[in-house]
Symmetry: C2
Subunit: 200 residues, 2 copies
């Protein structure tokens, strides 16, 4: 029955993992090339060389394949080295966001996830934790900044993330300017001009 979690303990039939991999790779490729609408079962069949009946033995529906593909190439924010200063840690975080938007795969995944949430509430399970994880990372860094006297206490994490990430996402989505390291660093400076204590 599709939809179950693979048990990690038992060695898996190599055919299964091969199929999963081939399908997901093809789905991600199609996603990057043509967006969510391009991830069609028939297209995945053609690209992956996996039979349709086999795909439907692994996933219940087309949307499940799409979700799996999105999940497979979803962005991941790393916790920065605690040894770094708060400002530098912030820079690393925001830069990594810029990097995500540079990588075509991740960039497409981000856009698709964000905009698909609006267009098709049917696809709910869309990375709800992803965001929360990143918020956690950010809060950790900012709280340390408060302790160090670099960040003004009483900040709102959601607002802070909007000001730190919003400009980059905006730049990426609209294509009005490159979402690169320069913009990332500048965004951090803008952020610190308001959220900082000046003692950083």
């Amino acid at each position: 029955m599709p939809g179950e979690l693979p048990s990690v303990d038992i060695a898996e039939d190599p055919r299964i993992s091969r199929t999963r991999r081939a399908v997901l790779d093809a789905a991600v490729e199609l996603l990057v090339e043509g967006g969510a609408d391009a991830v069609t079962i028939d297209a995945v069949v053609a690209r992956s060389k996996v039979a349709k009946s086999t795909i439907y033995r692994h996933w219940d529906t087309r949307d499940d394949v799409l979700l799996a593909a999105l999940h497979a190439c979803g962005p991941d924010l790393e916790d920065p080295d605690p040894a770094l200063g708060t400002v530098e840690a912030l820079r690393r975080i925001v830069r990594s966001v810029a990097e995500m938007t540079s990588d075509p795969v991740t960039a497409r995944a981000i856009s698709t996830i964000l905009l698909l949430r609006l267009e098709r509430p049917s696809l709910q399970g869309l990375e709800p934790d992803l965001e929360k994880d990143q918020i956690k990372v950010l809060r950790r860094v900012l709280d340390r900044g408060v302790e160090e006297g670099v960040i003004r206490p009483g900040y709102d994490v959601q607002q802070a993330s909007a000001h730190l990430v919003g400009p980059l996402i905006f730049a990426h989505i609209t294509g009005s300017l490159p979402s690169d390291e320069a913009l990332a660093d500048q965004t951090v400076e803008v952020f610190l001009a308001y959220y900082g204590t000046g003692r950083g």
Copy 2:
């Protein structure tokens, strides 16, 4: 032949304007309810009570209907009163962006335009001027701010717009926090902390 601009001088057959109106209203409704994919010709026929053959006498293709609907409810940024101070003018601009994201029709139009640009580069004519108009408005206000000594000279308009609008769009798209007047005002403050001279 469809696709022509209606000549405004000559009084139009009321049947024509009635049909155009009915179709566009229905298309916008469908767009708001279900996104771009929901704007199908058959759905528009059902909703508008206009015959399919009639619709195709006014527009060449489905995509043209969708574009017309998007154009009909596209956002519009007003030039703020020159009598207002630069800071207040900025606030007005950013607040109006927040308002757009609050209005379900405009919000949906924005998301759809952004999404379609990524998913279907074929649909070119997608409001290319819209953005430029808004950039012009912003540049006008900021240049005045520079003259008044409130804004640091040498700013980059694209960057400025990213920092002014990005957080609101981000908030709206992710739903992580309300994209309201409060966030708008705060965003202006963050902006001024960096782009301002402190003399505002």
